[in-house]
């Protein structure tokens, strides 16, 4: 067994409704999904977020798309139009969740989601910076 962050194992998306945020995790295959179901419990997610989530955490399964959906109550500083946070809509809570590390079998531990290659972006920005009027 080894410890791996969820970043290596799944995709994610976060959304908001009032003062409730939700974060969905998306596994790439059945084995990983089973692993997520076993390891990523509502209790662990609640503990992971600490004071960022003041209320309860509910977990729902959507096996058809290999997803777990976490509903985080009292999690947005009062809700979008009321919150003082820069992330008042909880858009970054997906990234915050995939920091969570779980114990996985060694073959899974070797898995790595690919890292972004943004060479095309660097080229565009470099080009713009080289051409002041």
């Amino acid at each position: 067994m080894a410890r791996v962050s969820l970043r290596e194992l799944c995709g994610y998306r976060a959304g908001d409704k009032g003062d409730i945020a939700n974060v969905a995790l998306f596994a790439d295959d059945d084995d990983t999904y089973a692993l997520l179901c076993r390891e990523v419990t509502a209790e662990r997610v609640k503990a992971h977020f600490g004071p960022m989530v003041q209320g309860a955490v509910d977990r729902y399964e959507a096996r058809n798309v290999l997803a777990l959906n976490f509903v985080l109550h009292d999690a947005l500083g009062g809700g979008g139009p009321r919150s003082l946070r820069s992330d008042n809509l909880g858009k970054t809570l997906g990234g915050a969740l995939v920091r969570l590390e779980i114990d996985v079998p060694d073959d899974v531990a070797r898995r790595r989601r690919p890292r972004p290659d943004v060479g095309w972006a660097e080229a565009i920005v470099r080009g713009a910076l080289q051409r002041p009027n």
Binding site: K17, E61, A62, V65, P81, S86
Partner: protein, 462 residues
Amino acid sequence: MPNAAGTVRLAGGQGFYGDTPAAVDALLAEGIDYLCLEALAELTLAILQKDRQRDETRGYTRDLPAYLARALPFVADGRTKVITNAGGINPPAAAHAAIDTAKRLGMSGLKIATVLGDDQLTRIDQLQASGEELGHLDTGAPFASFPGEPLLASAYLGARGIVDALEQGADVVITGRVADASLFLAPCVFEHGWKWDDWDRLAAGIVVGHLLECSGQSIGGNYTGDWWALPTPWELPYPIAEVGADGGAVISKPRGAGGRVSTDTLRHQLLYEVHDPRRYLAPDVVADFTSARFEDLTDDRVRVTSVRGKPATPTYKMLLAYHAGWSGEARVAFSWPDAFEKAKATAAIFLKRVEMAGHEVDEWCVEYWGVDALGGATVPGAGDCEPPECVLRVAWRCDDQRTAGLVGRELVPLTLSAPPAGMTGMGRGGGGGATELLGIWPTLVQKPAVDEHVRVTVQEVA
């Protein structure tokens, strides 16, 4: 009438107030029966409420004319109809703007419909008198504890009013707070003649609507797969659905455009802003999102089938809002060495000076960008890290607008007269403005109490 293939072609041309009208050109050129423009979010209703407070003729999303200027030539040709909730909290004013746009383009004969009845602001007392409790949906707080006066009370209507308008021959349908996905369900019901108790088909329409309502978010926007590899990401196309009479649908995008349609991009959207995916509560049906089957076809096409639904609940969701004070914010940046420590010290000095100035602040938010402003407690070792740079952001809430504006000024003198060295990054704006905060109060209301006030009117452009 469905086309020769027996399908209705819908497009999600707008995902929020602030989206780009230019994106609808490719959809219109591709050939679509309905252009659905989803303009509202909780935050948008709050913005529109502030607009309407300043000017009674406002309260709708003011980019509607820009969208219609692009779409109306296709509407006039009979190729496309437009359905939108851009009416916000003032659909008659939005219809007025739509008629003006049509006239400006020299188009007469177009039928523009409005669906009214979602706005319950003037009926709160009546609703209570008739037994509606209006307690807070999430916290359970009773309406007796509602803070101040409601500024907004919009019920999330379903697809029925839009279907009614289409049956009356409307070319453009403008609504207020109709639930996002219902904008897309309505043309499916109208074209395919689905019955209001055909729960599986209604649920299929809601799944299609949910997949299309956030524009680029189903085509690779806000995506965590190999997002960097999507072609021409500066012109992400918006989604199209071909919906069959049985509720089966194929999701696609304009040919040749960038972006991607795959089961992976679509499942990201499927659970966006969803709680229990087995029970997605739409106004007209309870949809089971876990029943949907996705099948990748070729050429950025995904088939969605097998959606199951259950009978709708007896209530509509309704969103109320209340004034929650005024906020301001300020930012300053520090570089290595000791950037984080300097930021923390500056925050403390600023707070102290605000207190000494006698400004009353009801709530503070102190963030360290580059350390844990976004990740909070999930960032390991944030307490003793050594970032190369750090931005301090402080936000505050005050009871009155003037104080909220004054607080930020206490930061400016620290540029010279506070020990942390190298304070910069305040920007050229100078800040000092105050923003009104709105608290939102989601609740439920019995459908008949709302439905009896829903009105559909059709105006023909002279």
